[in-house]
């Protein structure tokens, strides 16, 4: 089984700073996403799975529409596999109700006038994200014990929580350590990949202009996110 741990907004400097060994693996580095005008989640994951820069296509769907992007498996490298399992990946099978609600709460947070209101919305937002995370984590760990030839688990927790809490280092550390523990349960070779990282703006988080990758097998240097379709295909042939 080839495993990809796809983590939204996993920040390179924090992976090192928190000493997350299982996320770092033997080889790790930043990805080059400078070809994109902005580090947009939906654009980046779409480009990852198709192996092509999808900025124009995705952006054409508009700010709201882009969140509902759905590529057919035929247009992705997942098609190479007999029995792939993909969990919650943006642009493929992103769980719409979950992530729509995140954005609604995010908007409510910024629209709220009072401090108290903001705090209570943030709590609801956080709890909503954590609840989803627990579900995805279980689904991923269960899938590790199945016979899929390809497994991709997408974890949005670092991005979602990060947007409203990135200034809270202790909280982010707990999330990174949890992701590190999830990586530790993977017994096969795996690739860790993020679309972009995160920068701190006060208590908040903004997308940074590079992603993160790691592997136990090979040094990929400073790859583009579109290179991974090819990298994973090669990996499959080696097996």
């Amino acid at each position: 089984m080839i495993v990809v741990l796809a983590i939204d907004a996993l920040e390179h400097t924090l992976v090192e700073g928190f000493n997350c060994k299982n996320l770092m693996q033997e080889f790790h580095g930043k990805t080059d996403i400078s070809e994109f005008s902005e580090p947009r989640t939906m654009v980046l994951w779409s480009s990852f799975m198709t192996g092509k820069n999808m900025e124009e296509e995705v952006m054409a769907l508009g700010d709201e529409g882009m969140w509902h992007t759905k590529f057919d498996i035929k247009n992705t490298f997942f098609d190479q596999f007999k029995d792939p399992k993909i969990i919650d990946l943006p642009g493929f099978n992103y769980i719409r109700e979950q992530h729509d609600k995140e954005r609604i709460l995010l908007k409510q947070f910024f629209d709220a006038q009072s401090e108290d209101e903001k705090k209570s919305i943030r709590t609801e937002y956080n709890n909503h994200a954590f609840e989803h995370h627990r579900k995805i984590k279980q689904e991923f760990i269960d899938a590790l014990n199945e016979d899929y030839d390809f497994l991709l688990g997408y974890f949005s927790i670092a991005d979602v929580i990060g947007h409203l809490n990135f200034g809270n280092r202790a909280m982010m550390k707990m999330i990174y350590k949890d992701m590190d523990e999830i990586a530790e349960t993977i017994k096969n070779n795996y690739i860790v990949l993020s679309d972009h990282g995160m920068d701190k703006i006060g208590m908040f988080g903004d997308h940074s202009n590079y992603g993160f990758w790691s592997s136990s097998v090979k040094d990929f240097g400073n790859p583009k996110i579109t290179d991974f379709a090819e990298i994973i295909k090669e990996n499959q042939q080696v097996k």
Partner: protein, 409 residues
Amino acid sequence: MEKEKLKFVIVGHIDHGKSTLIGRLLFDTNSIPEGKIEEIKHLCESLGKDIEFGYIMDHLEEERDQGITIDTAQTFFNTKKRDYVIIDAPGHVEFLKNMISGASQAEAAVLIVDAEEGVKEQTKRHAYILGMLGLAQVIVVINKMDLVDHSQERFETVKKELIQFLSEINIKPSYIIPISAKQGDFIANKSLKMDWYNGLTVLEALGTFRIKENANDKPLRFVIQDIYNFDKRIIAGRVESGTIREGDEIKVLPSGENTRVKSVEEFLKEVTEAEAGKSTGITTEDKLFIDRGDVIVHDSDQPVVTDLIKANLFWMDKIPYKNGTSVWFRCATQEVPCDIEKINRVINSSTLELIAEDALEIRNREVAEVMIRTNKPVVVENFNKIEELGRFVLGKDDTIAGGIITELE
């Protein structure tokens, strides 16, 4: 009355549970601000797990960073008996520099070892540093006993391996305690899970350690700063430890001549004695040859007069020390040229890795065990006995290294 305070440091391999132990010590002594524990518990539950004490420190630091609680970089907890300060060692470089330069001083250490993983290279390096700093009050805790079924056999195996290594570097731990920081076994409370152990808990063991002795209670060391010849001949200096009194039989070192204190002189004051920490003047019965740098002591307990010193240095100059260069040795008010006769070993203060034995140079931020030869005899002391004469600096124009004296002939 102010409670006494013991400062200690926790060292060991990064993954062997240091932060969990700190969190547990704070939790079990009710030293965590209200609401914090609930917050951490909630977050752990949000991630689908039980509370982890290892995150307590992170959350407290978070508050510190936001300036909500006013605090220093030290962590406090207390028992009925005394207050404790856990000295943060954020990176060994700062810790070592502070310890050697005297900026902060741990009086005891806890060395933590994972019961499952046993003694690792990093465990050894940290233990070695405890030896170098002359920390004599050491507790070894063998942690994560819950992961080895609280097995006495496993405990004994790790204990044996560790004691063997520690004895090689002359550390004799006062206690070796099986613990589970995660579950709280033998930290503040005894546990039935390891009924084969009937020793002290970590808190009880810490409670037996001595606080640094009051400088007044130590032997007299009066270091001379200057001689003034007014209507009488006043010998001015600083009492580093002990007390000097009118009428005392005294000895002047390094010359070794004896005399008696005629008077203790303080400006516009009638006094007969001066205690540790005081800068004062004295007159003597006999007119001896005394110079800046000399040390006046009582006959009963004398320091060492020697020109050969074994010491540990922290190098803090960009220019490396090259074998054979002459530099200033400064200890209390003594200042004499010296050279480093032998560099026994050099250690990287950040990784604690051994860089070289019988080395030819010492570079910036390296810690070295050396033999120093001074141009003429100096009055010094083992660092553990009287810190004031056991601590020195090397310098050219500026200070280039701090050092502590670990062994004297």
